[in-house]
Amino acid sequence: MLIFTCPYCGIAAEETELTPGGEAHLKRYGPGSSDDDFEEYLFLRPNAKGVHFERWRHSHGCGKWFLAARDTATLEVFGTYSAQTTEPPAEIVTAIRAKRPDWSPA
């Protein structure tokens, strides 16, 4: 029963208030992109056992999507942040490194 702090409304949101949205920071490939890129975008996932960047929507709260860095093996949450980013912000990376010194972004 996960709990995340929604970066928009500041509420410590229960899992039942939230909708999971899969991996974060996917780059969209539209018409004209290669088969490789499109397959990668839609289907291929690192499925990391460990640090994972993912999307959540505070659907039964403020309705906003946000992103989270979470360990899929321990369920530790390193931080939540705006969905309007293309990569994890520096403070999130720092927070992860503080807890997982061996981790490096894929």
Partner: protein
């Protein structure tokens, strides 16, 4: 290997069972094998078994990081059915179901296949149409199913409330020759048979790397040293992504937790398996008397084998609506398994970008019922380079948009 029988038990009883051998040997790995299977769950062991039985390949090792059968094989709700909609699914699940019918005799190990019948309830008009479609598809696929009315549902399972206020039962898709089996016994029976063919089952041995030369697999590195192989089959369910990463490719897979529950044992009240997909719950009664219940999957990546409580709650609600007598029973235990979900929720049995390396994964919430068919197809693919049963389950289908989507029928795959 000494054959199991009532006579063997009687003979052993006289000497307090001191004469039973190990069910499988526990050898140290040799330096190389013709084929290595990574993962000694049901699918991996079945692959090894059919490599030996169907293709004469017995210089085989099955490597397992924990204990054989300790993953999803021993954590599921043991339902076996083949009433799938799409042709490729129906083919492999029906193959599996038919192999299950004689598996106890084939393995000389009682896996307790119990063809007690599976009923999938239709509780909306949409579900009625969906299951009628499945019944028509099954008729052409050689899968014997039948769409039945609510009266027949009640006859087959008197504890069902067919007149619920929200989702009265409108009918059901009935597969009489579907059922359940004893999950652990499937792994143990295959393991014993593989060991008997001279294969090495190496437990407590984790694969840490995959060695390749010129795009071809040459072996694996493990916590018990390097082991060479000509062919490599990876059959590790939820951990497929981790192993694929070692070989430098990615999979269309995400690992999530799926939960199951059992009640305290009671005297028999239910002879069949019932699945209620609209309200989302499914249940059967084990030979021990426990009500065995399948819950929902979490929607987020998870490797902990622990799920969230609300799925237990939702499932129990659904089942009390369907079986009101359940309310006063007590829930004994619930647990989670890590299931590997693909983009279309259908499995992958495929060659990989690495030559001579094969992968079998993505069974999601429905793997147990497929074990013999999956092993059969994977063995054929590994031994001969192609298998009609595996053909449509290739990795390439995602790129082509050639999905095998079972959720299109009213049901969901379990």
């Amino acid at each position: 290997m000494r054959r199991y029988s009532a006579f063997a038990i009687a003979r052993e009883a006289a000497r307090f069972h001191s004469g039973w051998d190990r069910a499988w040997r526990s050898p140290t790995p040799r330096s190389a094998y013709d084929a290595i299977i990574v993962g000694a769950g049901g699918h991996g062991l079945a692959t090894a078994y059919y490599l030996g039985k169907n293709h004469g390949l017995t210089n085989v090792a099955v490597i397992e990081k924990g204990w054989l059968g300790g993953g999803n094989t021993g954590r599921n709700t043991t339902i076996i059915r083949s009433n799938y909609l799409q042709d490729p699914s129906a083919a492999i699940y029906e193959k599996a179901r038919s192999l299950y019918e004689t598996l106890s005799q084939d393995l000389n190990y009682n896996i307790m296949f119990s063809p007690r019948g599976v009923m999938m309830l239709a509780q909306t008009q949409h579900e009625v149409r969906g299951y009628q479609r499945t019944a028509h598809a099954n008729a052409l696929q050689g899968v014997t199913t039948e769409f039945v009315g609510p009266k027949r549902v009640k006859e087959l399972c008197p504890i069902i409330n067919i007149d619920g206020p929200r989702y009265p039962v409108l009918g059901g898709l009935w597969q009489a020759r579907a059922g359940t089996a004893r999950h652990d016994a499937v792994a143990w029976g295959y393991a014993r048979a593989c060991s008997d063919m001279g294969m090495d089952i190496i437990q407590q041995c984790e694969v840490t790397g995959i060695t390749r030369e010129g795009g071809k697999v040459t072996g694996v590195e493990t916590t018990k040293g390097a082991i060479g192989c000509k062919k490599l089959g990876v059959v590790v369910a939820g951990h497929s992504g981790v192993v694929a990463n070692m070989a430098g490719f990615r999979l269309p897979i995400e690992s999530v937790a799926l939960q199951a529950l059992v009640s305290e044992p009671i005297k028999p009240v239910m002879d069949i398996v019932v699945m209620a997909n609209t309200v989302h719950g499914y249940m059967s009664q084990s030979d021990k008397g426990e009500m065995v219940i399948g819950g929902g999957a979490d929607g987020y990546n998870n490797y902990t084998q622990r799920g969230s409580f609300q799925h237990v709650e939702e499932t129990v609600r659904a089942l009390i609506e369907t079986f009101p007598m359940l309310s006063r029973l007590k829930m004994l235990r619930w647990w989670g398994g890590i299931v590997d979900m693909t983009g279309d929720r259908s499995p992958i049995i495929s060659k990989t970008p690495v030559e001579n390396m094969f992968i079998n994964c993505g069974w999601g919430t429905g793997g147990f019922k497929a074990i013999p068919g999956s092993g059969w197809a994977m063995a054929e693919l590994m031994a001969t380079g192609g298998s009609p049963l595996a053909q449509e389950f290739s990795l390439g289908r995602f790129r082509e948009g050639r999905f095998i989507d079972e959720s299109v029928a009213a049901g969901v795959a379990h």
